[in-house]
C-alpha cells in the first residue's frame, strides 16, 4: 500500500500539500477559542483590557483571577453539588439502564419486545417540557438535587446501545450458569457486565459527561442558590454577567477590570476536569458512537 511521495504526479503532490495545510488551518480555527481562553485566563487583568485581537501568548502574567475564582465559595459549592449529581446520577443511570438492557436482551423473555415498543415510543413522542415541569413540581422534587437525577434516570438511546452489546454474549454461556443455579441478578452482575466492560465504560462516560455539562433542568427545578450545580453558577457568571457572584469572597475593588479575566479563569477551573480526562477517554467515546451506529 505504501506509495512514495516522489512517485506521485504533480497534481497529487499539490493536493496532498494543500490538504495538509487546509486540515491544519481548520484544526487551529476549531481549537483556537479554547487556546485564547487559556491565555487570557493567565493574563494580567489590566493589560488584557487594552489588548485587542488574537492572543498568541498570555498578556503579562497574573494568577490574580485564579485567586479570585478559588476564593469564590459558590464555585466550590457548585463543584460539590455537581459531584453529588454525577456520582448518584451516573450510578442510578447505569443500574437502571443495565437492568432494562439485560431483561430486554433475553431471547426467551417474550414480553420483552412489547415492553421495548412502549419504551421506544417515548423517543418519538413525549409530553414536552411543561407537563414534565408540572409533574416534577407536583411530586415534590422542587429544590431537590434528585430532580436532576430521577427524571433522566434512563436515556433510551443508551439503553438500546447496551441492549445490543448484551445480545452479543453467547446464550450458551448464560444457560450454563443458569444450570448451575445462578439467578438473573447474578448473571447480569457476574457474567454479562464483566463481559461487556467496554460498553459499560462508554455508558458511564456518556452519562457522566451529560451530568457534568447539564444546566437546564437545574435552572427549572432549583430555586435555592446553594443547590446550584457548577454549570448554573457558570451561567450566572459567564452569560448573565453577575459580577457580584463572580467576586464573592474577595476584596477586589476593580471588578470591571478583573471581570473579564475572572470569566476566563472560571471557564478553566470548571472545564479542566473534562480537558484532563479527555485524551484518555476519547477513544471510548468513539467506540460508543460506533456501537450506537450499528445497532440491530
Amino acid at each position: 500500500m505504501f506509495r512514495n511521495f516522489a512517485k506521485k504526479s504533480r497534481g497529487e503532490k499539490t493536493f496532498t500539500v494543500l490538504n495538509y495545510l487546509f486540515l491544519s488551518l481548520l484544526t487551529v480555527i476549531i481549537i483556537y477559542p479554547f487556546v485564547y481562553v487559556v491565555f487570557a485566563s493567565f493574563s494580567d487583568p489590566f493589560e488584557i483590557m487594552s489588548t485587542r485581537g488574537l492572543l498568541l501568548k498570555p498578556k503579562g502574567f497574573s494568577l490574580e483571577s485564579y485567586k479570585v475564582v478559588f476564593h469564590n465559595p459558590n464555585i466550590w459549592r457548585g463543584y460539590l453539588n455537581t459531584l453529588f449529581i454525577l456520582v448518584f446520577g451516573t450510578g442510578i443511570n447505569i443500574l437502571l439502564t443495565s437492568f432494562a438492557a439485560y431483561a430486554l436482551s433475553r431471547p426467551d423473555f417474550r414480553a420483552g419486545s412489547k415492553i421495548m415498543l412502549l419504551i421506544v415510543f417515548t423517543m418519538m413522542f413525549n409530553g414536552g417540557i411543561i407537563p414534565t415541569y408540572i409533574l416534577v413540581r407536583n411530586i415534590g422534587l422542587f429544590n431537590n438535587l434528585f430532580a436532576l437525577i430521577l427524571p433522566t434516570a434512563i436515556n433510551t438511546t443508551n439503553l438500546i446501545i447496551m441492549r445490543t452489546a448484551f445480545r452479543e454474549i453467547p446464550d450458551s454461556l448464560l444457560e450454563a450458569a443458569k444450570m448451575d443455579g445462578a439467578n438473573d441478578f447474578q448473571l447480569l452482575f457476574k457474567i454479562v457486565m464483566p463481559l461487556s466492560k467496554a460498553t459499560v465504560a462508554v455508558m458511564v462516560l456518556f452519562y457522566a459527561v451529560y451530568h457534568w455539562n447539564a444546566w437546564f433542568n437545574a435552572s427549572l427545578y432549583l430555586m435555592k442558590r446553594e443547590l446550584y450545580p457548577l454549570q448554573l453558577i457558570l451561567r450566572d457568571i459567564l452569560i448573565q454577567n453577575d459580577t457580584a457572584s463572580m467576586t464573592v469572597g474577595t476584596s477586589t475593588t476593580d471588578t470591571a477590570a478583573v471581570g473579564q479575566t475572572i470569566k476566563y479563569a472560571t471557564i478553566m477551573v470548571s472545564t479542566l476536569p473534562i480537558l484532563c480526562a479527555y485524551p484518555f477517554l476519547q477513544r471510548f467515546f468513539v467506540k460508543g458512537v460506533m456501537i450506537g451506529a450499528v445497532k440491530e
Binding site: G53, I115, P131, L135, S270
Partner: protein
Amino acid sequence: MVNKKTIKPRKSFGQRVKVELSRHKYLYLMLIPVALYYIIFLYVPMYGSIIAFKDYRPDLGILGSPWVGLKHFKDFFTSIYAWRVIRNTLQISLGTLLFGFPAPIILALLLNEIRSKMFKKSVQTLTYLPHFISTVVICSIILNFTATDGVINSIITALGFEPIQFMIREEWFQPIYIGTTIWQQVGWDSIIYIAALAGIDQQLYEACRIDGGGRLRQLLTVTLPGILPTIVVMLIMNAGKIMSIGYEKILLLYNSNTYETADIISSFVYRRGIVDMNYSFASAVGLFNSVINLILLVSVNRICRKMTDNSLW
C-alpha cells in the same frame, strides 16, 4: 420442570400470568424500577399534556381544570408569533442541515487522503473537543468573541471596517448559531463517515488504480459509492429532526433584540410556560410541535427502511 407445563394448551389467563411471572420473576423484578421511571417521567407527562385543551390552574389540578377545547391552539395560530417561531425553527434547522451536513463528510474525505497516522489522529482528537465542552461554556465563548470589543470585532476594525454588534443585530443570529453549531459538531459527526471509509474494501482501490484511475476517479467510483448508504441514512435521520432543535443554545444566546430571528418553537414554549406561567397555552404549542415531530419521525423511518435495511427502530 415448571417450563414443561406452559406447553399445555387451555390455561386460564390468571394461571398463565402466574406461570410467566414465576418463570421470569427476576427479570420482572429488574423491570419494576425501569417501568416506574418510564411511567412516571414519560407516560404521566404525556397524559399531562391534555392541559393543552384545558385552562390549567395549579390549585384545581390537571383533572379539575375546566376544558376549553382548541382555544389555546387558535390563540397560537392567530398570534403573530406562530409564523415567526415556526419560520425560525425551520430556517435554523434547514440552515444547519444545508451547511452542517456536508461539512463532516468533506472532513472525513480529506482525512481519508492523509497518510500520516499521527497527523490524522491529532486532527481527529482536536476537532472532537468542542463536542465535550458544556453548552454554557461554549455560549460564553461565543458571546465573548462576538462582543463589540471582542476578538472578531477587533479583527474587523483592524482591517478598517466598522465594528458589528453581532448579538443585537437580528440578521446575525442565525449565521452565528449555524456557524458555531458546525464548529461544535463537525469533528464528532465525521466519526461515522471515517468508520464507513475505513470499511471500504482496499481491493476496489487497487482495481481502480490498475485500470488507470487517478485520485479523482477513485473518489468518484470507489469512495463515494462506498459511503453513500451511510450518507443516505444520516441525511434521512437528520431530516426527521427538523422541527426539534433544542432550546439550550438558543436560550443562552438570544435576547429580546434578536427574538425576531432567534425565537424558535421550543424557546417560545419555555418563555410562555415557565417564565410567564401560561402552562396551558405553552403546552398547546409544545403538543403541536411533538405531534409534528412524531409524524416526521415515523415517515422518515418508513422511507429509511424502504431505501436501506437500516432503521431507527
